[in-house]
Symmetry: C2
Subunit: 153 residues, 2 copies
DNA sequence: GTTGAAACCGGTTGTCT
DNA sequence: AGACAACCGGTTTCAAC
């Protein structure tokens, strides 16, 4: 079942700030705590809410460099995709990895300390995979926008 | 001041699951609740923790399509970058936008319902910006990995 | 940093409308 | 389905070690 407008309001508030209390949410949408509480439980149980996390400050923790990578695999080897996927999920530097359409196979988002750390990652981890044929790296110079919140209203 | 190993353990647990109680964290790192509580408050106050959010399930909410875009601006106009940045931050479809090095200017991550919705976004919102010279779109076919958690240990 | 206690507040549950 | 009230558990603060 798709969430109604009230549910969507709740989802939107929680994806902006998961620390908001049920009371605060209730007052914002002109309801009492009971229905808000029930709706949240329902949204969690039905899988509309995947998880609650905290977002850390990359820079303050020394992870100053973000790199988007385009990766092309060696399609001669039929096991290339499976091998690559399994290797990628184990790499903590890789935050996002998707198979994409177009003139390369994967789009990656990599977060590391600095250029030197990226060089290490590139040479010894990413290009070291036998399934990888080609990599293009795009270094983030300035982050204009970053949000985990999707449009729900 | 940089967080010590205990702080980093706490940060790692919270970026995996922000609902974990202080009690649970304390038992996992063999400490009592008081110091854990103090460390979390300190990490929040000093800005290592940016915010607490919930991550929604895109698919269940009908946002099935993710597209990475490479955007090139019209550099003849000196106000292009400022115009573009201001427009992008207002677009709820755009979750990530960064200035990057290489043969184009911006990398975007866009989340929409489907191909038709992307077409609408592309034609009427993104390419409608006067500062935009060229756009390349890479449609996500399969999401291999997605996490907001950076390596902190 | 630990323990224990107390106050507080939000989450949780049951009942009523 | 929403409002109200009582209970429970975790958070928060404090004191003493």
């Amino acid at each position: 079942m798709q969430p109604d407008q009230t549910d969507r309001k709740i989802l939107d508030l929680l994806q902006q700030n998961a620390q908001m209390t049920i009371k605060e949410i209730a007052s914002k949408i002109n309801l009492s705590v009971t229905p808000v509480h029930e709706r949240i439980r329902k949204l969690e149980k039905e899988g509309f809410i995947d998880k609650y996390v905290c977002l850390l400050n990359r820079r303050k923790l020394g992870k100053s460099l973000v790199v988007y990578c385009n990766v092309t695999l060696d399609k001669q080897r039929k096991e290339s995709f499976e091998d690559f996927n399994q290797a990628i999920v184990k790499m903590p530097e890789v935050l996002e990895c998707s198979v994409v359409s177009g003139n390369f196979d994967y789009m990656l988002k990599v977060v590391v300390e600095d250029g030197e750390a990226y060089n290490q990652f590139y040479q010894h981890k990413l290009s070291a995979l036998s399934s990888v044929l080609h990599i293009s790296s795009y270094f983030v110079i300035s982050e204009i926008k970053y949000t985990t919140g999707i449009a729900v209203l």
